[in-house]
Symmetry: C2
Subunit: 175 residues, 2 copies
Amino acid sequence: MTEKKEKILQSALELFAREGYTGTSTSKVAKHACVSEGLIFRHFGNKEGLLDAIIKEGEERAKTLFSSIVFETDPKELISKLITTIESFSKNSEDFEFWKLQYKIKWETEKYNEHKMEALQLALTSAFTKLEYEFPELEATILLVIMDGLATRLCLQENFQVGPITDFLRKKYNV
Amino acid sequence: MTEKKEKILQSALELFAREGYTGTSTSKVAKHACVSEGLIFRHFGNKEGLLDAIIKEGEERAKTLFSSIVFETDPKELISKLITTIESFSKNSEDFEFWKLQYKIKWETEKYNEHKMEALQLALTSAFTKLEYEFPELEATILLVIMDGLATRLCLQENFQVGPITDFLRKKYNV
DNA sequence: TATATTTGCAAGTGATTACTCACTTTTATG
DNA sequence: CATAAAAGTGAGTAATCACTTGCAAATATA
C-alpha cells in the first residue's frame, strides 16, 4: 500500500466519521489527504469502493479486537473482558473515531453486519451456559444489545459516563 | 397547514427515513410530494427548516407516546408499559418509519436529544426506588440503554425478533 | 366587489457533485 | 540501460445540488 493511498483511507475515515458518507465529497477527502481527486478513483474505482475499503479494514480490526474475548475459556473472565472492551470505547480513546464510523455507516447504509457479532454471540452463550444461567442465549443477546445501546450513548450523548454503568454490570454479572 | 405543505412533510419523513437527510435532495422530496421544488422553500425557508419541522413534530409525538408511561404511579405497571412500548416498535407497526427516522437523524446530525428522555429517566428511577432496588438510577439508565440497543437492532438487523427479548425482560423485572 | 395576502409554479442561478481523461512522473523488471 | 507498469496530476465533464426570482392563481379580508 502506497503512502498516499493510506493517507486517503485515513482522511476518509476521519471525514466519514465526522460528516457521514453522503455528507463527505471526494474533493474534500482529496484536499484533506493532500492528493489529487483523481487518485482516489485510481485506487478505489469510485466513492463506494473507498467506503468498502474502510469497511473491510473495520472487519479486520473487529476480528482482532474480539479474538481475545472469543477464545477466552473462563466464562466469568469472558464477560469481564467484554465489559472492559466497552469501557475502552470512551471518547478520548484512539479507537473511538473508528467505532463511531462503524455505527454511522451502519445507520447510513443500513447494513448491520450480523456475522461480525455472531462469534461473540456464540461465545457469550457458551459462557452463560457454563455459569448455569436459565436462558443463556437470551442473556447473551441482552448483553450485546446493551453494547449497542452504550455505543449509541457514547457516540451521541455529550458527557455520557460509561464507568458507573460498566461497574454496575460487573456487579450484576458478578465478574 | 395546507394540504400540499402536509404532503411535503409526509414525503420528507418517508425519504429521510429511507435515504437519510443528506442523501435526500429537495428535488426528490418535491417530486415525491407532487409539488414544485420552490414550494418547499416557500414553506420551510431552507432544507434544514424542513428537517427542523419534522424534528419538532417528532418531539410532540414522543411526548404523547411517553406521557402514559411517565404518569403511571404503579412502578411495576410503569416498567411493563415501557417494555410494551418497545415491543410495539416492531417493523410492521405504522410508527416504525417514524422512530427509525428519529434515530437516523440522531446519527446524522449527532444531536442526542437528552431532555426528550429525561422525564422517562426520572419516572423510571422513581419506579425502581419504590421497588427498593439498590441502585435505582443505574437500573433506569440500563433499561433506557437497552431501549436504544433494541431500536438499533430493530432498525438495522433483518429478521430481528423483539418478542423473546421483551418476554425475558418482563421475567427479569418480574412485571 | 376591490384589494391585499397567501399559495403555488416554472425557469432559472452559481456552486458542487462524482467521475473521466490525457498526460507526466516514479518505480519495478528484464 | 531500456521499457513497461504503476502512481500521480490537473483540467476537464454532465448532472445534480440547494436555493432564488418573477409571475400567476387562489384565498382571505375590507
